[in-house]
């Protein structure tokens, strides 16, 4: 085994990312639910001028609902398949 292989393997063994890094799905889910709600409300309360500008499509409503759906998809994914617990050897020490 080369020196590089040894060095990186040793660092990998001490690495804390696998055990401690949070799950990005929660953040994507949370942000898109918030954005979805904000933009959907903007769509529900859209003015005539807004609609006219957007070629008579209520783009805020549709985009908002789509973002909301994406956010809920990510939250549902976390809920159904939570982060796999790291193998015992890598379990957090704290």
């Amino acid at each position: 085994m080369s020196e590089l292989q040894r060095e990186v393997s040793e660092l990998e063994a001490r690495s804390a990312t696998a055990a401690r890094l949070f799950d990005i799905r929660r953040i994507i889910g949370g942000l898109f639910v918030v954005y979805g709600v904000i933009v959907t409300i903007a769509g529900i309360t859209a003015s005539e001028a807004d609609l006219k500008k957007a070629q008579d499509i209520n783009i805020n409503l549709w985009t908002g609902l789509a973002m909301l759906a994406l956010g809920l998809f990510f939250l549902g994914w976390v809920w159904l398949r939570p982060t796999q617990a790291p193998t015992p050897a890598e379990a957090p020490q704290e």
């Binding site: 085994m1 080369s2 590089l4 292989q5 990186v8 393997s9 660092l11 990998e12 001490r14 690495s15 804390a16 990312t17 696998a18 055990a19 401690r20 890094l21 949070f22 990005i24 953040i27 994507i28 942000l31 898109f32 918030v34 954005y35 904000i38 933009v39 903007a42 769509g43 859209a46 001028a49 807004d50 609609l51 500008k53 957007a54 070629q55 499509i57 783009i59 805020n60 549709w62 985009t63 908002g64 789509a66 973002m67 994406l70």
Partner: protein, 556 residues
């Protein structure tokens, strides 16, 4: 470089700014939350090699989806028409698949932490140092150019003075990478990917509606520019004139083979995302997962460009004060109501910051692991290099803020430098491909291949093309030809040097050359990696077939 016309000021209101503010808060939050996962230098530079494939895959595509790319490709669409698809379907997908299926076992299996480190293992210190130093310089330069481009766009769209956006965006990037390391950069890229989609999809739909759907769009463009504008290959016969200034041969070889393979397979800002994956299977799948969104992103970039070409028939010519780069900002202004407008502004700013962050997070790795730890201060404990990595991240960001201000006063020089660095990518690919497949390629052949290929590409571009020795119709076409010349020259010189110099001892080549295996690679496949939809070969060939199929409607 982007020069946006005046008069593109967006009608933003408090709602849009609230959406933007939420995004900035989340970006910083990710940085702080990722902090507790950083214990070793490997955590900081490569996320401890432990991320899942879908995260690294989306980061892989997002690292490339910077705002200069989005605005630039929409501009290419407005200028050249449907031919812009070449940059995606032939200029990206084959190279991404090659990286995943063929090269990744050597990259990931050899446990190198960076692209230059592979050169050190395979060739020698001179090739390593040359590529490390050039990469470090180029990253700071490109990060600075990105910041400068951001400041111009923000000034035009929101009316902030340039220095405010340079400093604010620079400091945000500094904060979240210095604190959270690569994990924080990658997580923000994944987030950015979705925000960009949420910005560009509505814009594309409204744009199409505005010009009467795809039929209305193609009718108007055929009337204005002729039928070839809406085909991928129309007018690219050898010797035929076309606006791209390239024929099918230079497109396939220059763009599709040399330039694209050089960028996608040896640019560390991209490869780093794959190296941070949790195992070899995930590393292989990183560019393959990225390939699928990449195939379709072209539509939400090209269509706004085409729509802009219909709405402002004179765009990009002397008769209009709008340049091609204004295509997307123009549609944002014309079509998006407050709310979605805020999402679009956020998406653009996020793309600028992520593009810069990708450069900074690869710069700090190469500078610390390849330059500092190997040639300057060697053999310290890991905590020292972790601390140094944080310090150099801060210095790197401050240097790119400086570069951005320089770019503001000397933008021509910056463009020139970017061209220079782009020529370095080409021979990198030659050296990699020969080094990986030819055991005999000698230690010294690496550095000579790099030098010869770069020189040849530069001579072709700056002397033969710029001085008019050979007539090539456009910069774009000349770029493709220079790439081919650099590739051939680099390969020839490598073979010649190899014939006269010593090979690398066979024992040191384990896991670096085709036909050898890294020690320790026998780890059993992780549970679940065997399911059919995670098989690299299927994903890779699937992407190729899909990209080829996408060409069909635009080829006849």
């Amino acid at each position: 470089m982007h020069y946006l016309a005046d008069g593109l000021r967006l009608p933003t209101n408090g709602l849009d700014y609230a959406i933007l503010a939420i995004y900035f808060a989340v970006v910083l939050g990710i940085g702080f939350a990722a902090r507790r996962s950083v214990k070793t230098s490997l955590d900081f530079f490569l996320s401890g090699r432990s991320l899942p494939a879908w995260v690294t895959g989306l980061a892989f595509v997002a690292a490339n989806l910077g705002a200069t790319e989005i605005l630039g490709m929409a501009a290419t669409g407005a200028q050249y028409g449907v031919a812009v698809v070449h940059w995606y379907w032939i200029g990206a997908i084959p190279a991404m698949v090659f990286l995943g299926l063929v090269m990744m076992p050597f990259y990931y299996g050899s446990k190198v932490r960076s692209v230059p480190e592979f050169l050190l293992q395979r060739f020698d210190k001179s090739a390593h140092l040359l590529s490390s130093v050039l990469f470090a310089f180029a990253s700071i330069l490109i990060a600075g150019v990105n910041l400068y481009a951001l400041s111009i766009v923000v000034e035009a769209l929101l009316g902030w003075p340039q220095w405010v956006s340079i400093v604010v965006a620079g400091l945000f990037v500094l904060a979240y990478i210095t604190i959270g390391g690569l994990s924080s950069a990658i997580y923000n890229e994944v987030l950015q990917f979705f925000v960009i989609l949420a910005a560009l999809i509505p814009l594309t739909i409204l744009g199409l509606k505005r010009v009467g759907g795809w039929d209305g769009l193609s009718d108007s463009l055929t009337r204005q520019h002729g039928g070839d504008f809406l085909t991928a290959w129309g007018g690219t016969g050898i010797g035929d004139p076309n606006p791209l200034g390239a024929n099918w041969l230079t497109i396939v070889l220059g763009l599709g083979f040399v330039l694209s393979f050089g960028y996608w397979t040896t640019n560390f800002a991209e490869v780093q995302r794959a190296l941070s994956a949790k195992n070899l299977s995930a590393a292989q799948r990183t560019p393959l997962i990225a390939a699928f969104p990449k195939i379709f992103i072209v539509f939400i970039v090209m269509i706004p460009g085409l729509v802009a070409a219909v709405l402002v028939p004179k765009i990009g010519t002397a008769g209009s004060d709008l340049t091609y780069n204004d295509a997307i900002p123009l549609l944002m202004q014309e079509l998006l109501p407050n709310g979605v407008l805020g999402i679009a502004v956020t998406g653009l700013l996020a793309a600028f910051m992520a593009g810069m962050a990708a450069n900074v997070s690869s710069f700090n790795t190469v500078f610390t692991a390849d330059i500092w730890a190997k040639y300057v201060v060697k053999g310290r404990p890991d905590t020292y290099y972790l601390k140094f990595g944080r310090l150099i991240t801060a210095i790197g960001v401050l240097a790119s803020i400086g570069t951005a201000f320089l770019a503001a006063s000397f933008s021509n020089i910056m463009g020139y430098l970017q061209t220079l660095f782009s020529f370095f990518n080409v021979p990198m690919f030659v050296v990699f491909i020969i080094g990986m497949f030819w055991k005999r390629a000698s230690m010294k052949s690496g550095v000579w291949g790099l030098l010869a290929g770069t020189t040849a590409a530069m001579v072709n571009y700056f002397v033969i093309y710029k001085q008019g020795v050979i007539d090539i119709p456009s910069d774009q076409g000349a770029n493709f030809v220079s790439a081919i010349v650099g590739f051939v020259a680099g390969a020839l010189v490598m073979v010649l040097v190899t014939l006269f110099t010593a090979p690398k001892p066979e024992a040191e080549l384990a896991g670096l050359v085709y036909g050898t295996k890294s020690p320790g690679m026998e780890e059993p496949p992780q549970e679940g990696d065997q399911v059919w939809y995670r098989r690299p070969a299927l994903l890779g060939w699937g992407a190729i077939v899909l990209a080829a199929a996408c060409y069909v409607p635009y080829s006849f």
